[in-house]
């Protein structure tokens, strides 16, 4: 990795809101420098040797947890997974007590996923370890936002000046929140579209433009991102059926005709094929969905490296 003068000042990774554009570029540059490690035959560097990294997941997750775990292991960190089903959460222990108990075992990083917005911030007030937010409620999912930025940067060489459309359940999507924040901070314009029940109050305040239809939102855009939808949340009637959703808000070849020729197709996964996105779009030209997953590992390696600092361990490329 090329050392530059930039110094990363963040102890915790709570959301993209905390970062300046320079921070974001620095994280992305760091991630790019780590990416090659994953394509070597021996995918391991000693950077995080002796470091203890806890995955504390209060919500089910396959890819994010695996991605963090792989990221840590490829840097020789020791990882431990705690999921809600095996933790004390079901025994009535509070989040703070759980965290304090983990802290007593002196980990270096706690990666937390939790259904409550702000739970990672709460942890920072009660433990010494660095906290990385792996998704909190409907607030932020910073590593996902970063891997999406990295993927677009890889394919387009820049973020600034691009037009990005995010389609679907914006209101309940931490991925959407982090992406709106990240892309706008780096100079892209972000449009959102979806059923009005899926648009959060005053979404424009985050920097996104609301469009009346998917066709309007994707007109001329460089990136189309569809979000996973869940039909019902908190007994709240949001959409009448997945069928109707697919017809009016699903991404298919037809609706993409107005987009830029080489439009990138993204989805944070897991996809409801035929609902948010037709299979030919998900698997077709322009789809970078699997690149997103690959970049996830690099971004998470970068985040672990940056919060732990480079003063210890064996150096990045060693």
């Amino acid at each position: 990795m090329t050392k530059n003068e930039f110094s990363f000042q963040h102890r915790h990774i709570l959301g993209l809101e905390q970062f300046s554009p320079a921070d974001l570029h620095h994280i992305l540059a760091t991630a790019r420098s780590f990416k090659a490690i994953s394509s070597r035959s021996i995918k391991k560097v000693p950077t995080l040797r002796g470091r203890t990294i806890i995955n504390l997941f209060f919500e089910p997750s396959t890819r994010t947890r695996l991605s963090f775990e792989i990221a840590a292991k490829r840097m020789s960190g020791d990882t431990f997974n705690i999921s809600a089903s095996t933790s004390s959460a079901t025994k009535g222990e509070s989040l703070i007590d759980t965290a304090r108990n983990i802290q007593a075992m002196n980990p270096d990083v706690i990666i937390i996923r939790h259904s409550s917005s702000g739970a990672p911030q709460l942890l920072t007030r009660h433990v010494k370890a660095a906290i990385i937010n792996a998704g909190d409620g409907t607030h932020e999912h910073p590593s996902q936002g970063l891997l999406d930025l990295m993927t677009v940067m890889e394919h387009r060489g820049r973020i600034e000046g691009l037009r990005v459309a995010i389609i679907g359940d914006i209101a309940h999507s931490r991925v959407a929140h982090s992406n709106i924040i990240g892309f706008t901070k780096l100079g892209a314009t972000v449009r959102v579209a979806g059923p009005t029940t899926f648009l959060p109050p005053q979404i424009a305040s985050l920097g996104a433009t609301v469009c009346g239809s998917v066709a309007e939102a994707v007109e001329g855009v460089d990136v189309v991102m569809a979000l996973r939808i869940q039909k019902e949340r908190q007994n709240d009637p949001l959409i009448p059926s997945l069928r109707e959703y697919a017809r009016f808000y699903g991404i298919n070849r037809e609706v993409l005709r107005g987009a830029a020729d080489n439009v990138l197709i993204m989805h944070p996964g897991p996809i409801n094929r035929g609902v948010e996105m037709s299979p030919d779009v998900a698997d077709g030209p322009g789809s970078v969905i699997l690149d997103q997953v690959a970049n996830g590992v690099a971004v998470r390696m970068a985040l672990l490296y940056l919060v732990l600092g480079d003063e210890k361990g064996g150096g990045v490329g060693a």
Partner: protein, 426 residues
């Protein structure tokens, strides 16, 4: 302990008697008297205000059932420290105060261990379950002064109508916590740009105003009076103002946090700023302040809601609603006077005369012969509001660490000194 005291040189403010002047006031045998007793102690109150004891018509004392948060003893001690000589306590205890036995228990504990008069509020419905009326007559005989299903607002409009009608027969005030729960369900702060940014489900002001409208319509339909608790939203204030103008028998209160704070206090997931209704926008805060100045609000009440760290040091959306308020209410209300929004006499109306009149209890005035419920306010005293200084068992306040100006320095309830920062007890 029955003191014979003459207070001299203080500013006596008693809007009920139309008094606002520097003068003397004497008490003897627990009452205000016209003649200065011969051996009375003279207490100089130069620079201070002497007002009728403050009355908070909306508190949660948590006893019986949640004594780890507050007890009648600690809650009324906090009241006296805040300048209050009487409080009306909401029925959401464990068990719910929905029958005379619970009311009697509260009255008895208050009598033996209280530092202020306690007026229990009974439940509107049994168990506050919103299904059948509680026994208002029995509870009234035991000591309740009002009914409310505070915190568990009555959903069934027919039940609410019957409550208004039936309560009238027992001369009981009905207090409404106005919240349409279908709209607020799952929400934990005001709905708006900040709730979107924090990823917290919002509670729209419509959840409040819709229910306020229903209560006003029912009061109009039945011809009975209703009191709207802790109003936070401009839209609800407009409805109340209009209803008052056409003669609906409605009174309304707001709480100090609604004229002091906005939803911005929630930022950083601060559970000490989580309450129901939630802190609103700056426009709502301004509307609350105007409604205090123009008389739309009759009362300032605290909605004193003690919670321990068990309920507050948790994820924001899981945290309990409510903040302690008894010891910050007066200083925060005094800022309205300094801002020129209300006069000292209006402050006394909002915090003493009006709640007494609306609840139908004694107090709220300094007339000759009434019980000596008095509060001495030093309007200039500067201090920092800290957890260590609180008498409440719980410390869940968004105002900790705030510099404040003006507070109660002496509280006398029925002639008994219940709070003393001027060395009167020496």
């Amino acid at each position: 302990m029955s003191e014979r005291i003459v207070f001299t040189g203080g500013r006596i403010i008693d809007p009920v008697s139309g008094v606002d002047r520097i003068g003397d006031l004497a008490i003897e045998n627990g009452r205000i008297v016209s003649e200065v007793p011969i051996d009375a102690r003279r207490i100089d109150l130069t620079g201070k205000w002497l007002v009728p004891g403050l009355i908070d018509m909306h508190v949660h004392l948590r006893e019986p059932g949640e004594e780890y948060k507050e007890t009648i003893a600690t809650g009324t001690r906090a009241a006296s420290a805040g300048g209050f000589t009487a409080v009306a306590c909401m029925p959401n205890t464990r068990p719910v105060n929905d029958e005379a036995a619970v009311t009697r228990l509260i009255m008895e504990i208050a009598e033996n261990h209280g530092s202020a008069r306690v007026y229990p509020v009974g439940a509107i419905s049994r168990g506050s379950q919103g299904e059948e009326l509680a026994e208002y007559g029995e509870m009234k005989a035991a000591g309740i002064r009002a009914v409310s299903d505070d915190g568990l607002p009555v959903r069934d409009s027919q039940l609410m109508r019957r409550a208004l009608e039936y309560a009238a027969g027992h001369d009981l005030l009905v207090i409404s916590h106005s919240e349409e729960r279908a709209l607020s369900r799952g929400g934990s702060m005001n709905e708006g740009a900040l709730s979107t940014r924090l990823g917290l489900r919002g509670i729209p002001t419509a959840a409040e105003s819709i229910m306020v409208y229903r209560e006003l319509a029912l009061a109009e339909l039945t011809g009975q009076r209703i009191h709207i608790a802790h109003v936070s939203a401009a839209s609800a204030i407009d409805l109340i103002r209009q209803a008052k103008a056409r003669g609906v028998r409605v009174t309304a209160e707001t709480a100090p946090h609604y004229f002091t704070l906005t939803e911005a206090a929630v930022d950083g997931y601060n559970t000490s700023a989580k309450m129901s209704p939630p802190l609103r926008s700056e426009a709502d805060r301004e509307a609350v302040r105007q409604a205090l100045a123009d008389g739309t609000f009759d009362v300032i009440a605290t909605d004193h809601a003690p919670h321990s760290v068990l309920e507050k040091e948790v994820e924001f959306d899981r945290a309990a609603n409510g903040i302690v308020g008894l010891e910050s209410a007066l200083p925060l209300t005094l800022t309205l006077v300094r801002d020129g929004l209300i006069t000292p006499a209006r402050l006394v109306e909002l915090l003493s005369a009006a709640p007494a009149q609306i609840l139908g209890v004694e107090g709220g005035s300094l007339a000759i012969g009434v019980p000596a419920d008095l509060t001495v306010i030093d309007p200039d005293l500067e201090f920092v509001f800290t957890a260590a200084s609180l008498h409440s068992r719980s410390k869940n306040s968004p105002f900790l660490g705030w510099p404040m100006q003006g507070k109660a320095v002496l509280t006398i309830c029925g002639g008994r000194i219940t709070h003393d920062e001027i060395g009167l007890r020496l």
